[in-house]
């Protein structure tokens, strides 16, 4: 009975100054919404990464060069290494594609575009990375042998450079060297941190000629005969490369399977999520401090009212209760609106990432917002409750 009455006093106190209550609520709203939204974005990024790695297939090994230990020399990964990986000594290896990558700027007409990734490889590369062609054709082994200046472009590059025109057959400039577009890849979407469609693939030989030179390969992508054959393929690749590079101690290359790649990338996106969540948590904290601030102002402003209530017999507990309920209502209301805003916001694609809502984060953010009211409201409320009636009444 009494609790209900005191809650009614609290509601009246809040509605008496709607502007201020609204702004305080906004602080909590932003905090809660950003916690929910940023965790959803982080989660969305990591699930996109997982999907894109899963899209690679379960029978892929990636070999990349490793920096040498001091005192030894590292041999670069070469095209010959890649060629040696397919043969009688490695029955479980199906393909091995040499890969080089470069930074490049593409131009067509007056438009220029900084390409996310310029890759040089062979036609098997499209197979191992699950890349399908949407228009035109892929380049052929013959193109690689002849080092023809042809490229297959990703969907993003196509829309950036050739808005409203058909790219296939056009000649585009890559670092001022003309290349003919032979195909456009189907859009894959974002893989979390980078746009998988912002890429151009050209024959390995052409890329080495024009852009990267004949140094080390960036990667060798190996496809095993099947997922079950992957451990065998990895052992055979290791034996062959160790022989070719005359390795006795630490290897100058690194082999990652799709599982390991997944683990490594997941760890990165988890760090990313934690970072986002802590930024959001700080904004929630700031919202809480806003509540303390406003409640202190409210208490100071209403010292006379507190005096009047005490003079007519309000016990300490009811004054404490009234102001605690005011603070908690502010934060609960802000929390509820924040949950709504976070859930609506996560329906939209943010920075190329489709957020994936984490139900526990919604619960957590809401619960924390409720506790924030209690925690940050308790100091102003206890100050109000402790006032001596005569001192409160004399306050101007």
């Amino acid at each position: 009975m009494r609790v209900f009455e005191i809650a009614a006093f609290a509601v009246r106190g809040l509605t008496a100054n709607k502007m201020r209550s609204g702004l305080t609520t906004l602080g909590i709203l932003i905090g809660v919404a950003s916690v929910i939204l940023l965790i959803a974005v982080g989660n969305g990024a990591s699930s996109a990464v997982q999907q894109s790695i899963a899209g690679l297939g379960t029978n892929i090994l990636t070999i990349s060069p490793q920096r040498a230990q001091p005192g030894s020399t590292a041999k670069p990964l070469t095209t010959a290494d890649a060629a040696a990986l397919v043969g009688a000594d490695s029955p479980d290896v199906k393909y091995a594609s040499p890969v080089v990558s470069a930074q490049a700027t593409a131009g067509y007409g007056d438009t220029t575009h900084d390409i996310g990734q310029f890759i040089g490889s062979d036609p098997r590369y499209f197979n191992t990375t699950n890349s399908a062609v949407a228009q035109g054709n892929l380049f052929s082994d013959n193109d690689v042998q002849q080092a023809r200046k042809v490229v297959v472009i990703g969907a993003t590059v196509a829309t950036e450079l050739f808005p409203g025109t058909e790219p296939v057959g056009k000649s585009m400039l890559v670092n001022n060297i003309p290349f003919t577009v032979v195909g456009v890849l189907a859009a894959k979407g974002s893989s979390g941190l980078q746009d998988a469609d912002d890429m151009v693939v050209a024959p390995l030989t052409t890329t080495q000629n024009a852009l990267t030179g004949y140094g080390s390969l960036t990667q060798i992508v190996v496809q095993a005969q099947s997922a079950d054959a992957l451990p065998n393929a990895q052992a055979q690749v290791t034996t062959i490369l160790n022989g070719r590079h005359k390795i006795t101690g630490t290897a100058d290359y690194r082999i990652l399977s799709q599982d390991q790649l997944l683990t490594a990338r997941t760890a990165t996106t988890e760090t990313f999520t934690v970072l986002l969540a802590s930024v959001a948590a700080i904004s929630l904290l700031v919202g809480g401090i806003g509540i303390t601030n406003i409640m202190l102002v409210t208490v100071t402003e209403r010292i006379r009212e507190i005096g009047i209530r005490k003079a007519v017999g309000a016990p300490r507990s009811s004054i404490l209760g009234q102001f605690l309920i005011e603070a908690t209502l502010l934060s609960l209301f802000g929390g509820a609106l924040g949950v709504a805003a976070g859930m609506i916001g996560s329906q939209f694609t943010i920075a190329g990432i489709q957020p994936v809502l984490v139900p526990s984060s919604v619960l957590l953010a809401f619960a924390v917002s409720a506790l924030i009211g209690l925690f940050f409201g308790s100091y102003p409320a206890s100050r109000a409750a402790k006032l001596r009636p005569i001192e409160a009444l004399r306050h101007e």
Binding site: M1, R2, E5, R12, A16, R304, E305, G307, I308, R309, K310, A311, V312, G313, A314, P315, R316, S318, R388, P389, I390, L393
Partner: protein, 226 residues
């Protein structure tokens, strides 16, 4: 007759050391049930301090105060708030109504803290407002009422709990002559119906309403005029 208020050797000191101010220096006072007493004195004589202590809004530094034969010196803040709620009705010079709250809600306030249920609360608050002649102003807020009407709301609030004593600190101090007459008339009627009334005033005409006048000088009772 049993005393409602019994004060013995009451002392109140503000501050300490050289700057200490002795507002009350051993004051004795007895108020019988049903009495109507006016307390007069120059400003700084300690009369307001006395009334605040009688209303349990302040605590004395020394001496005894028995309210309805209860020794208030042994009470903690929680029990004092209960006393204020049940035994005392206080009327202030500056009305002290809760702003932005209707007359009815203001009068109901002590009953809320007393835990009276809503229907009875409403009934008693309306009766109290009727008694002060404001039965038609129940849903007005303080800023929509004249000074005299505000003070009558405050009196209704003071008597709605049927307290043992009604204390009034210069209730007509901020009012014009007509409003003062109304307020004093209400206090007269309250006393006539058996309520104990203690008020502070500067004015002899106001004091004339009381049965006796207590004169306070330098924190002590200097004389009683019957």
């Amino acid at each position: 007759m049993s005393p409602v208020i019994e004060v013995r050797d009451l002392r109140k000191t503000y501050g300490s050391g050289d700057t200490a101010v002795h507002a009350l220096r051993g004051l004795d006072l007895t108020v019988e049930k049903g009495e109507y007493i006016a307390i007069m004195g120059a400003s700084g004589s300690g009369k307001s301090t006395l009334l605040n202590i009688l209303g349990c809004l302040d605590v004395p530094s020394g001496g005894k105060y028995l309210l309805d034969r209860i020794d208030t010196g042994e009470f903690d803040e929680e029990q004092l708030s209960l006393l204020r709620n049940r035994k005392i009705g206080f009327v202030f010079q500056s009305f002290n109504l809760v702003p932005r709250t209707t007359a009815l809600a203001n009068v109901e306030l002590p009953l809320v803290y007393a835990g009276v249920r809503r229907p009875q609360r409403r009934e008693r608050a309306l009766a109290a407002l009727d008694l002060v002649g404001l039965g038609d102003r129940t849903h007005h807020r303080p800023n929509e009422l004249s000074g005299g009407q505000q003070q009558r709301v405050a009196i209704a609030r003071a008597l709605v709990t049927s307290p043992a004593i009604v204390l009034a600190d210069e209730p007509t101090g901020n009012l014009d002559t007509d409003s003062s007459r109304e307020v004093l008339g209400i206090l007269d009627r309250l006393n006539a119906s058996g309520r104990t009334v203690v008020l502070i005033t500067h004015e002899d005409e106001v004091a004339a309403h009381a049965m006796r006048t207590v004169r306070v000088v330098d924190g002590r009772v200097a004389g009683v005029l019957v």
